[in-house]
Assembly symmetry: C2
Homo-oligomer: 137 residues x 2
C-alpha cells in the first residue's frame, strides 16, 4: 500500500509519523482483518509496547486510516484504509479484501433527503465464503 499517502494524511491530521505508528498501520495493511491482540503480539516482539499499539490504533482510526468492523462471531477486527473503503470478508477464514467501486452516492443522497441527516459517509462490509474455503468444504 501507499505509505506516502499515509504519511501525508498523518501530517494533515497533526499526527507525528513515528515508526511505531507506521508499523501498526503496516501490520493491518499487510494482512487486513486482524485483531488488535494479534498485532500487539507481533509488534511486541519488535519492542513495541502494547499501550502504544492501542494508542496508535485509536489515533489512526480517528484519522480515518484504519477501519474497525465487527466480523462474524463478534470479533472486532481492523483493516488499513486510505479514506473510503468497502470490505469483502470471508466468514470462514477471516480473509479480507478491499472493494474499490462504490455506487452508493445516490443512495446516500436519498437517505439524507428522507432522514434529514447530514450524511458524512458509510461503511459497507460484504460477507461470504472465499474461493479457497469453498474448495475446502
Amino acid at each position: 500500500m501507499d505509505t506516502d499517502a499515509l504519511e501525508r494524511r498523518m501530517t494533515a491530521r497533526g499526527l507525528r509519523r513515528t515508526p511505531q505508528r507506521l508499523a501498526v498501520w503496516r501490520a493491518f495493511a499487510e494482512r487486513p482483518g486482524r485483531t488488535i491482540r494479534e498485532v500487539v503480539a507481533q509488534l511486541h516482539e519488535q519492542g513495541i509496547g502494547q499501550a502504544t499499539v492501542y494508542r496508535a490504533v485509536r489515533a489512526l482510526e480517528d484519522a480515518g486510516l484504519l477501519l474497525r468492523f465487527a466480523a462474524p462471531h463478534g470479533e472486532v477486527r481492523f483493516a488499513a484504509v486510505l479514506g473510503h473503503a468497502h470490505l469483502l470478508v470471508c466468514e470462514r477464514c477471516g480473509a479480507v479484501e478491499s472493494l474499490e467501486e462504490c455506487h452508493l452516492g445516490a443512495y446516500e443522497a436519498e437517505v439524507a433527503r428522507r432522514s434529514d441527516y447530514l450524511v458524512s459517509g458509510h461503511t459497507l462490509i460484504v460477507y461470504g465464503v472465499c474461493p479457497h474455503c469453498r474448495e475446502g468444504a
Copy 2:
C-alpha cells in the same frame, strides 16, 4: 417491533424463548445502538444477571437477531434486527435508525462475479449527524 417474528426465528434456530432473552432483545429494539454494558446495567435492576445478558447477546447475534457494529470512537454497539438491516447512525449522539431500502442486490452479484466469493450478505452503516444534533451545533 414484531415479537412474533422474533420468537419464530428463535425456535427455528433451536433457541429457547426465555423471558431473559426477550428482555435483552427488546432492550436493543427499544433503543438501538446501545452497548452491552448499558443493557447489563438496565436489566440487572430487573434481576437479570450480567452473564445471562452476554450469553443472550451471543445467541441472538448468532441467530441473526442482533447486529453488532463499530460506532464512531470505536465503541461496539448493537441493534435489534429481524434479518437484513441497514443502519443510519448519528456520530454526535449515537442515535440509530433503521433503513429499509436496499439497492445492493446487483452490487452483491457483481462482487460475487468479480471476486469468486460465495456472497451471503452485507452490512451497511451510514454515518451522519441527526437533525437534532445539527440544530444544537
